[in-house]
């Protein structure tokens, strides 16, 4: 369970987060939705303990997260970023193995977990031997997900994981990730500016603007009972135009 209580963060004169609260129940997926600069990434980094909030607190499974002793989080939280965030000097397999090596896992344990995960994200062994620069965008993203899942953390934080992919690959991966999250029963926080992705993943959605929570709820609640015109504007801005819908 992730609980964010009244978190605020400013960088100089810029307010990144302003009194943000939210709760994510275990085993559910929560979407942070908003335009760029809305504070989504900052919130994820606060939850990860990479950034200390100026006010408020974050609890993961009841334990307060602070940047200083963030080691207890290791193995508890997986992190996936745009384009996978892979290390270019390591092979795909080397990237996936890294957290297990740091945790001191024995070799055969690592190998077993790797083949499990490769099967899960549907990658064959040859891909693991390549370097990130030799992979497609979709493959890189799958490797990023494998690495985040390596230590089998109960919580996954994904920051625009599919942002850099072309639309068709993106749609395919969206479906696949949803399947994986459901199969593994992870608690997931997913950052996106894509309304379609929010609809697909989000049992619950938090819409952010300028560091403030605009509205929280299911997609149906946001669509049917918007608290202000911005909510509707945001959801509609990405809807296919009526002319296009007429064809299907």
């Amino acid at each position: 369970m992730i609980a964010v209580h009244h978190v605020s963060k400013r960088y100089g004169a810029t307010v990144a987060l302003d009194d943000v609260s939210l709760e994510v129940a275990s085993g559910t997926t929560h979407v942070l939705l908003g335009s760029s600069g809305a504070g989504k990434s900052t919130l994820v980094r606060v939850i990860l303990g990479l950034v200390a909030p100026d006010a408020g607190e974050v609890l993961v499974d009841g334990v307060a997260v602070t940047p200083a002793p963030r080691r207890h989080l290791v193995g508890g939280v997986g992190y996936v970023v745009q384009e996978g965030g892979l290390y270019p000097h390591l092979t795909a397999g080397g990237n996936v193995r890294l957290p297990a090596e740091a945790a001191g896992w024995p070799g055969e344990h690592v190998a077993r977990r790797m083949s499990e995960l490769a099967a899960l994200v549907e990658l064959h062994d040859g891909v693991l031997r390549r370097y990130p620069a030799e992979l497609s965008g979709g493959q890189r993203q799958r490797i990023g997900v494998m690495r985040a899942l390596m230590l089998d953390p109960p919580v996954l934080l994904l920051d625009e994981p599919l942002g850099a992919l072309d639309p068709i690959v993106r749609a395919g991966l969206q479906t696949e990730l949803r399947r994986i999250f459901a199969a593994l029963g992870k608690t997931v926080v997913l950052v996106t500016h894509d309304v379609r992705e929010a609809v697909l993943f989000g049992a619950a959605i938090t819409l952010l603007r300028n560091g403030k929570v605009v509205q929280q709820g299911t997609f149906a609640e946001l669509a049917q009972r918007p608290v202000e015109p911005f909510v509707t504007d945001f959801l509609l801005a990405q809807a296919p135009p009526a002319e296009l819908r007429a064809y299907f």
């Binding site: 992190y79 290390y87 000097h89 957290p99 030799e134």
Partner: protein, 497 residues
């Protein structure tokens, strides 16, 4: 920095082992000084005693500090230089006065060798005959003579300004000229009169006549041997040999002839010295010796570069890491390493003589200090420009500080770190030629000697191998890049943007 400090401490605290009976002979880097030192060396070697040559040192500042520190036992010097430059007391100009003043520093001088190397005025000999010019005061009768003077002579108070006052000279046409061109100007009758050193080899050739300094204006620059008192007392036999061979044995004409053999006839310093001692060395022997010398200088040079760059890497990479970690410290550090670069090499070497003497150690310390900047900067730049998100991910993955540094940061920065080490190495191959000024050997030995003797072949014999060595290192680093830069990064670099 710690390493350098430790190195310094070691050298200061550990006394040099009592030298076996080796006489350490130095010289400055001009022909006459080379020849005198070489004569001294060969004379001692002829008695069976061993000699260590530190020839071609970079000027009075270095030779004096070297003899004061005990890095050399003896070298040829001039009384005028001792009183003006070393004692800074022009009044102490007699050998007796100088000897008394040097005593407190544990130094002494021999009796004069028999000639002065001082400024003189020379005129075209046809003019001298026609106008009956023998003394400088004769010039007062001929204000129409055209003079060309080197810029030093034209400006120094013991040069033209003082001379003109003393003799009441009024020449209508006085121009400045590069010293080497003055003789051509006179030979072409484009000028009549120039300044010259009284033992210049060209005076042995027809065409020039020296005018006598009849009012004793030019200060005395009598050649002597400047030696350590403890050497004279430890090895009176060797000192006696030096006095017997050199003191009172070389007049200005002899010295000019010896200089001419080296400067104008293209004989090596060793050949000239052997000739003076009554033995001839054939050109073939001399060439064979030069080949052997080149091999040993190559080894010197290679070891200097390797040791300097290796120690600069061992110290510089951690300094670069530190600089990337701490903003304030980093700036101070980069500035300090940068300032080191601005200290002229000769000055740096000069400052270090009281601590480290001359030879390999001070050269190594200087090269090490100069080699630091590219390595520290390369490491710093490599680390400071890393993608912050990749570093945060390492934290989230639980890598810890050291594992993150070793597995992520340094490999990702390896391109920059290696580029720094490469720049530094190629730089050091060039800078190491300056090591010759403190007698550390290397290719610079030939360059300095060639410059002194105005011998292009000798200069090239040092400069060309140095350039080849730089190329060699360049090639070596191309190979190292392949080995040390992770393959994944090379894939990234090779990809079209």
């Amino acid at each position: 920095m710690r390493l350098a400090g430790t190195l310094l401490l070691l050298v200061v605290l550990v006394p040099a082992p009592p030298a076996a009976a080796v006489v350490k002979i130095g010289s400055k880097s001009f022909t006459e000084n080379y020849i005198l030192a070489e004569i001294a060396a060969q004379a001692i070697e002829a008695t069976g005693e061993a000699v260590e040559r530190r020839l071609g040192l970079g000027g009075t500042g270095i030779t004096y500090r070297a003899v004061a520190h005990g890095s050399i036992d003896v070298y040829p010097e001039y009384t005028g230089t001792i009183s003006r430059t070393i004692l800074k007391d022009p009044a102490a100009d007699s050998p007796e006065a100088i000897r008394a003043r040097l005593r407190s520093q544990g130094l002494t001088i021999s009796a004069p060798l028999g000639f002065d190397n001082t400024y003189a005025l020379a005129v075209r000999d046809d003019l001298a005959r026609r106008l009956k010019l023998t003394r400088i005061s004769d010039l007062t009768r001929h204000p129409e003579l055209r003079a060309v003077f080197s810029s030093g002579f034209l400006e120094r108070d013991d040069g033209w300004p003082g001379l003109r006052r003393q003799y009441g000279l009024r020449l209508a046409d006085v121009r400045v000229i590069e010293h080497a061109l003055a003789y051509q100007a006179l030979a072409a009758s484009a000028a009549d009169l120039t300044d010259i050193f009284s033992t210049d080899g060209r005076l042995t050739r027809p065409g020039l006549a020296v005018l006598r300094d009849d009012r004793r204006f030019f200060p005395a620059y009598a050649a002597v041997l400047l030696a350590r008192v403890d050497f004279v007392e430890r090895d009176p036999g060797a000192w006696a040999v030096l006095e017997r061979t050199l003191v009172g044995r070389i007049d200005a004409a002899t010295m000019a002839r010896l200089n001419a053999r080296a400067d104008l006839d293209g004989r090596s310093v060793r050949q000239v010295a052997s000739g003076f001692l009554g033995r001839e060395v054939s050109d073939a022997d001399e060439r064979a010796r030069l080949t052997r010398e080149l091999a040993s200088l190559t080894l010197d040079h290679l070891l200097l570069v390797a040791a300097a760059v290796l120690s600069a890497t061992v110290v510089g990479v951690p300094l670069g890491i530190l600089a990337a970690r701490r903003a304030v410290l980093g700036h101070a550090e980069l500035m300090a390493v940068g300032v080191l670069q601005t200290i002229p090499a000769l000055a740096l070497l000069c400052f270090m003589i009281p601590l480290l003497g001359i030879g390999t150690l001070p050269a190594l310390v200087a090269l090490f200090l100069y080699a630091l900047l590219p390595i520290v900067r390369g490491t710093y730049t490599g680390l400071a420009t890393l993608d912050r998100q990749l570093l945060e991910i390492a934290d989230v993955l639980g890598l810890g500080r050291w594992r993150r540094l070793a597995r992520i940061e340094l490999p990702l920065a390896s391109v920059n770190v290696l580029a720094g080490i490469k720049t530094s190495t190629i730089w050091t191959v060039g800078t190491a030629t300056l090591a010759a000024f403190v007698g550390a050997g290397g290719y610079g030995t030939l360059i300095v000697r060639g410059l002194a003797l105005d011998d292009v072949t000798t200069i090239l014999a040092g400069a060309v191998p140095a350039a080849l060595m730089a190329l060699l290192f360049h090639g070596l680093f191309e190979v190292l890049d392949r080995v040390l830069i992770p393959r994944g990064l090379r894939v990234v670099m090779a990809r079209p943007a």
